[in-house]
């Protein structure tokens, strides 16, 4: 069962490192997963080179969705908005380190959807992030 919920996930769920709001911020976006009601909001500050200097998230959800938000938000500090564009499902799965069925995958991808929609708009989203 520990295969299912690696310690990292439970730890990030219980002790998130990146939880919070940024006020003021350059980008802020919030969305939910209508299937289960999970909600994630991500705030970003970027510098003149479009590099993310600070990032934070708030929200409610299951261990998978909140741990992946925490890990994702942590990983993007220092990246440029262009680099955000290249993040994919596989990056999230690699960060979590577990295999997920299609339903739980939606939980895991909610934060990436919020991040990309916030930066590039919903219209630009890839098919795999249409939750």
């Amino acid at each position: 069962m520990d295969d299912f919920y690696r310690e990292l996930i439970i730890d990030r769920y219980k002790n998130p490192q990146m939880r919070g709001e940024l006020d003021p911020h350059d980008y802020s976006y919030e969305d939910d997963n209508p299937l289960c009601g999970d909600e994630i909001r991500i705030d970003l500050r970027v510098d003149d080179d479009s590099r993310i200097t600070e990032a934070a998230f708030t929200g409610k959800g299951c261990a998978i969705s909140l741990a992946s938000a925490d890990l994702l938000v942590e990983s993007i500090v220092g990246k440029t908005l262009d680099e955000i564009k290249t993040l994919s499902k596989d990056d999230i799965i690699e960060m979590l380190g577990i295999e997920l069925g299609p339903v739980r995958l939606k939980c895991a991808l909610l934060s990436l959807k919020v991040l990309k929609a916030g930066v590039y708009g919903l219209d630009e989203l890839e098919e795999e992030l249409m939750i």
């Binding site: 069962m1 919920y5 289960c36 009601g37 261990a63 998978i64 939980c107």
Partner: protein
């Protein structure tokens, strides 16, 4: 109702042997504990084999053929309809319309009966515990025709508030549509009494029996209802086939739903003559194998006896409720065991239902997480989602114990 296991007349080990899927493992050494029966039931070999036999030995289109196969298939399919009619106490097989599922039956009613009988300003009375399939078709009709929807509220125990019902009946709804068993709370509603009240107020009554017909004796004539709808897949039968039962006069007056083959007697370029009941509502080639499998499922349940099915499941539910109440942090929604079917929805401290279901799944235990297509009922109790365990005739006490053990493990991980 006798809530003890000892008084069951069912041979549960024999029943379990009829369900091959119960032997499977979900991971090496992890045997399936299937507690998601309110979503869909498992199927006994008798049902699986009847469908297999149809495809191997009988496969043909029905009603039109003259040849041997077509005749055998037609008889088998129509026999199933007759079995279903007798299972729910209908006067005639002509009152049994095959649809795809409960949802399609309700949409058929909204489309056909609703459009013919309702006009702007009319009211429809529903309840807060309805499945989305008994809400959305009426919301669609409301925005199209301009009818108004009212909702009977719930008591703290999760029963229908009968005062609210009486008050809303005073608004003289044309239609009252409600469930006989809630798929979230398990609540069994007093259908006979409520139907009589509705009729006195001049309303037509639809009963959503998707959760009740599979688990307890239901007799449409005793209950006095006008329409009843349910799905085969929740009562040991296949997916893709469901029932609309209706009073003959009402079905006769209703315009058809889909047009095409089978629903007509004859067609000319200038128009068509409608077929007799129930075929008027059955356009196109139906789900033949599924119909035959459904007939087999009804035989299986009728052989066990629905009183016995209900008694055993209530014993299981009473036991499960008692055990769940031992677990710190669990809150179960819905009434006491006496007044509910085998559906237990609960929250577990602030542990997300996905996490509960995911951890239980790693022990092979299948439960449901989410709003179970009953968002308004969840909203009533001010919650987003619940975890739901639901039982059927093949579930046993030991599986309830495994569920409880699993829940303690969830607490260890998230505690």
């Amino acid at each position: 109702m006798d809530l003890s296991f000892e008084s069951t007349t069912l041979d549960i080990p024999a029943i379990r042997r009829d369900f091959p899927i119960l032997e499977r493992e979900t991971a090496p050494g992890v045997q399936l504990v299937y507690l998601d029966n309110a979503a869909t039931s498992q199927k006994p070999v008798q049902v699986i084999e009847s469908m297999d036999f149809y495809y191997r030995q009988m496969n043909a289109n029905i009603h039109r053929g003259i040849h041997c196969l077509a005749e055998e298939a037609t008889v088998a399919y129509e026999d199933a309809r007759k079995k279903i009619a007798s299972f729910i106490g209908a006067e005639s097989w002509r009152q049994i319309v095959f649809t795809r599922n409960t949802t399609e039956s309700l949409n058929l009613l909204a489309y056909s009966w609703g459009r013919a009988n309702l006009k702007a300003g009319d009211r429809i009375l529903l309840t807060e515990m309805e499945h989305h399939s008994n809400i959305v078709p009426w919301q669609m009709l409301a925005s199209e025709v301009g009818v108004t929807l009212d909702f009977v509220t719930l008591t703290d125990q999760g029963k229908l508030d009968q005062e609210s019902y009486a008050t809303l009946l005073e608004r003289e709804p044309k239609l009252v549509s409600f469930t006989q068993m809630s798929n979230m709370l398990g609540t069994i509603t007093p259908v006979a009494e409520m139907t009589e009240q509705a009729h006195r107020a001049g309303a037509v009554v639809i009963i959503d029996a998707a959760q009740s017909v599979p688990h307890m004796p239901v007799d449409v004539q005793e209950l006095g209802v006008d329409f009843m709808v349910f799905s085969a897949h929740k009562m040991l039968g296949p997916t893709g086939i469901g029932i609309l039962y209706g009073r003959k006069e009402l079905l006769q007056e209703m315009p058809p739903f889909l047009g095409g083959g089978d629903m007509i007697k004859r067609v000319q370029l200038g128009g068509f003559t409608m077929n007799d009941l129930p075929y008027k509502f059955e356009a196109g080639t139906p789900a033949i194998a599924e119909g035959i499998g459904f007939g087999e499922a009804v035989d299986y349940l009728a052989n066990l006896g629905m009183e016995a099915v209900h008694q055993y499941e209530q014993a299981l539910t009473a036991y499960a409720l008692e055990r769940l109440e031992e677990v710190p942090g669990i809150q179960v929604y819905g009434p006491e065991a006496e007044d509910k079917g085998g559906v237990l929805s609960f929250i577990y401290d602030d542990i997300h239902t996905h996490d509960v279901a995911h951890i239980l799944d790693s022990f092979g235990i299948a439960i449901r997480a989410g709003h179970h297509c009953a968002q308004p009922a969840h909203q009533h109790f001010d919650i987003d989602a619940t975890s739901r365990a639901s039982f059927y005739i093949y579930n046993v006490k030991e599986e309830v114990d495994q569920l409880i053990e699993g829940l303690y493990k969830v607490k260890e991980i998230f505690g």
